[in-house]
């Protein structure tokens, strides 16, 4: 339905005045000169510069703007037959990045991120989950090796000019080179690079999940108080589930014997996870965009163990048993990929 209810078709003019008046991105020049340089070096070395530099540069721009811009907007998240509305606010100051995600539908839930710490507030359950990221893992942007991986596994094309939530945007298409990963269709704001819409597509071109802004403000109006939790004071008496910062790469004693083509191990660690008695082995495989996590822990006592595949949104989850261990594999990848990884998990020695 491209026509509006009254039959009028939008004229394609966006209110870009506001975008143009955004504050100078003083962090940009300092933080990203290095990665962009590396990216170019990789592009030249590996010879894919002719095919897709523009697409890759767009992805770099998208990643950068998500980190450095101040913005607030309402977006819809659709997966399967479900549609959820959320509000996101992102604010950067000298102490770093602050981000707030509020669910607008159903029970009120909030996620607050301050640099490497993520806090999920569940007021109904009077519970806060705290996930401490390892600081070194915080992505500054897409890393050069990631960019190479992306170009190896996806055909990256620039599509049409478009418009989302009143902002002009450029379509960037990532077509998977095989069936082991989903396709992506992004629309990034033409001037700022902010991702306005992200669609994940399966091999039949059905939408697996999508995010899309319906309203978005970029720039000056965003303040520090807008990224604070409204449950901050109330949550003092709530239950806090904390995840300790995972140790940097450790040998977990587990490995994937036949990882799907294009997927490489990007991290391996032992970590604590709320609600789990002991440390859990966590390995992550990625093709540059999609990631699949493997969690291995002893089969919890008194647990009805269930072997099989399930889904949560675009995430496929595969659980199996290996001797006395429960192996859970999950990621935003097709079932085949998740199962293949799951079935080839084995002790590395």
């Amino acid at each position: 339905m491209r026509k509006l209810p009254d039959g009028k078709v939008s004229n394609g003019k966006a209110p870009i005045g506001r975008l143009l008046t955004q504050p100078t991105l003083h962090m940009t020049s300092i933080r990203f000169r290095f990665p962009v340089f590396l990216l170019l070096a990789v592009a030249v070395n590996t010879g894919y510069a002719q095919q897709a530099p523009e697409g890759l540069l767009w992805l770099q721009k998208i990643a950068r703007s998500a980190r450095e811009l101040n913005y607030a907007g309402t977006f819809v998240y659709q997966h399967g037959s479900q549609v959820e509305t959320s509000r996101i606010t992102h604010f950067v100051d000298t102490s770093g990045e602050h981000e707030k995600l509020e669910a607008l539908d159903g029970s009120p839930r909030e996620i607050i991120r301050n640099n490497d710490q993520v806090m999920c507030y569940f007021p109904d359950a009077k519970m806060v989950k705290v996930d401490k990221r390892s600081a070194s893992r915080t992505f500054p942007a897409l890393l050069p090796e990631q960019m190479k991986s992306l170009a190896d596994n996806y055909q990256i094309r620039i599509g049409n000019q478009n418009r989302i939530a009143g902002h002009d945007c450029r379509v960037v298409i990532l077509e998977p080179k095989d069936k082991l990963r989903y396709g992506h269709r992004f629309c990034a704001a033409t001037d700022s690079g902010l991702l306005l819409k992200a669609k994940m597509l399966n091999e039949r071109n059905d939408v697996v999940e999508q995010f899309a802004f319906t309203q978005l403000t970029i720039g000056d109006e965003i303040g520090r108080e807008m990224v604070e939790s409204r449950f901050d004071a109330k949550s003092l008496g709530w239950r806090f589930d904390r995840t300790a910062a995972p140790e940097a790469s450790t040998d977990t004693g587990w490995a994937v014997s036949s990882s799907p083509s294009g997927f490489r191990k990007i991290v391996e660690m032992k970590r604590t996870i709320p609600g789990k008695p002991g440390p859990v082995a966590h390995l992550v495989y990625s093709d540059g965009l999609a990631a699949v996590s493997i969690f291995i822990e002893p089969v919890p006592p008194n647990t009805q163990f269930q072997h099989g595949l399930s889904q949560q949104g675009a995430i496929n989850i595969y659980t199996r048993r290996h001797t006395d261990n429960m192996v859970t594999v999950l990621g935003e990848a097709p079932a085949e990929t998740v199962i293949q990884i799951g079935n080839s998990v084995a002790p590395s020695k």
């Binding site: 209810p5 819809v76 998240y77 995600l101 993520v118 897409l142 992200a198 399966n202 990625s286």
Partner: protein, 168 residues
């Protein structure tokens, strides 16, 4: 807000509809709500052409509409209001249609029919019940996973919505 969605669906009695329209006229927040309900459907369905213009036009239209002063005259539906409710119905129907079309066909992954994956085929068919039982335990894993997903790098905290997604 409930009132606004009911208005959009044409479910309000005349009196309530009248007061909802009056609220729309006086409260910018509600107007945004009304517009966003329509825009959500539009944005998800297609790649373009929504709709600051619609928002603006809607405001202009509301501004021209005379304020309803109580007691309301008993009038039959004005053409304008009919048009409005028709527009709302069309949008609602289109939304439902779109939802039905996009039912996730991945629920029965056909990749499992390959001979090499026979072992996994039968558990996969049990997926829906498993999904229901494991979702809270899986959320902790999802939260841990999200940190390392490159999609987080390009979308910021938005993909975390998966970890707090409510199954309805």
């Amino acid at each position: 807000m409930d009132k606004i969605s009911a208005l959009m669906d044409g479910e309000l009695e005349e009196y309530n509809a009248r007061s909802a329209l009056a609220s729309l006229k006086s409260q910018a927040e509600l107007r945004e709500q009304w517009v966003s309900f329509h825009v959500i459907g539009d944005v998800l369905r297609q790649d373009a052409e929504v709709s600051v213009d619609f928002s603006k036009q809607f405001s202009d239209w509301l501004a021209k509409e005379p304020t309803v002063l109580a007691p309301a005259r008993r009038t039959t539906a004005t053409p304008r209001r009919l048009a409005l409710s028709a527009a709302a119905s069309v949008a609602a129907v289109a939304m439902v249609g779109w939802l039905a079309l996009s039912e996730n066909p991945l629920r029965q992954p056909d990749t499992l029919s390959q001979p090499g994956n026979l072992a996994s085929a039968s558990p996969a068919r049990n997926a829906p019940s498993l999904e229901f039982e494991t979702s809270s335990a899986v959320n902790d894993y999802l939260l841990a996973h999200q940190e390392f997903s490159p999609s987080t790098a390009i979308q910021g905290v938005a993909p975390y919505v998966r970890t707090v997604s409510e199954s309805r």
